[in-house]
Amino acid sequence: MKNTLLATGLTMALLAPMGASAADYVIDTKGAHASINFKVSHLGYSFIQGRFNTFAGEFSYDPSDIEASSISVNVDTTSLDSNHAERDKHIRSGDFIDAGKYSTATFTSSKVVDKGDGTFDLIGDLNLHGVTKPITINAEVIGQGQDPWGGERVGFYGTTRLELADYNIQVMGDSSYVDMELHVEGVKQ
């Protein structure tokens, strides 16, 4: 049994570097090498930084044909965390994202536009607060290769701006939009 596993592993290790073809990756939420962060204006004077602690997703990525890539991510909206329990409770309430009712936000890509130099536009549908709208994430490849523990990884950075009104989320004063900052590291399957 052990030998079979070892043999399979060795075979895979030998085959893996053969060609940089499309591969499937799972976002490394287990090791927390990925994060979904948001930034909202506070009174127009500064920004509040928060994140969603629980999410999962996978993607397919081919460095030689970025436009063939695709990704889907599910975010547990009840995991919103801005490092302030009372504020988080308020944002999760029916006044804002209504996480009790809309407990999952999903993003599914529909198109990738290669902009060269490892940058690309990731276009897809974001379902949030019961509303589905197309969004564009400006993304770039940060790096790719072997990790020290026998796996292979690729990582990206992406940003996008969400207008709260688009998702029927209450706008309060200057806080009409949210800037999302996404760090995504995937482990090759």
């Binding site: 009840t78 302030h84 329990a85 009372e86 309060m172 004063g173």
Partner: protein
């Protein structure tokens, strides 16, 4: 053997009426403050006062239990059935009050922040004790507050019934003017 008394003692009466006043006020302010706009000048002050008063009332209530234990209370009047109901209603009101203290504390301390009491002192937060603490505690706090107000109304109506219809000392002994 403790001596029988006709009235509740002064301290017990003061605590009773002060608690009544505070609980009704806290209920009203609680309902009002959760709907305040972020830009309201009360948005920060009202919850700060609500939490401060809540902590102080919790301290007062703990003292009340001790005081009740070490002093003598007058007998409950009414039929055997009424006396049992009175006992149950009083017990439930105390339980609801304790539930309010605990749930209120848990809303504000999930992130480990302490609760400032009128900038006099602060009660340390214990952090997250269970999943979804602030949200769940908030729901419990809301429904418990309503339950307490309903029980308090029943309690008040019963006292008025005893005073007006039975013409006994139920209400009088809490004012200190038993016949």
């Amino acid at each position: 053997m403790k001596q029988e008394v006709k009235n509740y003692n002064l301290v017990a009466r003061l605590i009773h009426w002060l608690s009544a006043l505070v609980i009704i006020g806290m209920f009203a302010i609680g309902l009002w403050m959760v709907d305040l706009s972020y830009y309201s000048e009360w948005y920060r002050t009202a919850p700060h006062w609500h939490k401060s008063v809540g902590i102080l009332l919790a301290v007062l209530t703990i003292f009340r239990f001790i005081w009740r234990h070490i002093t003598t209370s007058p007998k409950t009047e009414g039929s055997a059935f009424e006396r049992v109901v009175a006992r149950v209603v009083h017990g439930v009101m105390y339980l609801l009050l304790i539930t309010l203290f605990v749930s209120g504390y848990l809303i504000s301390t999930e992130d480990g922040r302490s609760i400032d009491v009128f900038n006099l002192f602060s009660v340390p937060g214990l952090g997250a004790l269970f999943e979804g603490q602030a949200d769940i505690s908030g729901e419990i706090h809301f429904y418990t507050a309503w339950a307490l107000i309903i029980f308090a109304a029943v309690h008040a109506l019963a006292a008025i019934k005893h005073h007006v219809i039975d013409k006994d000392n139920t209400l009088r002994k809490m004012i200190g003017v038993s016949k």
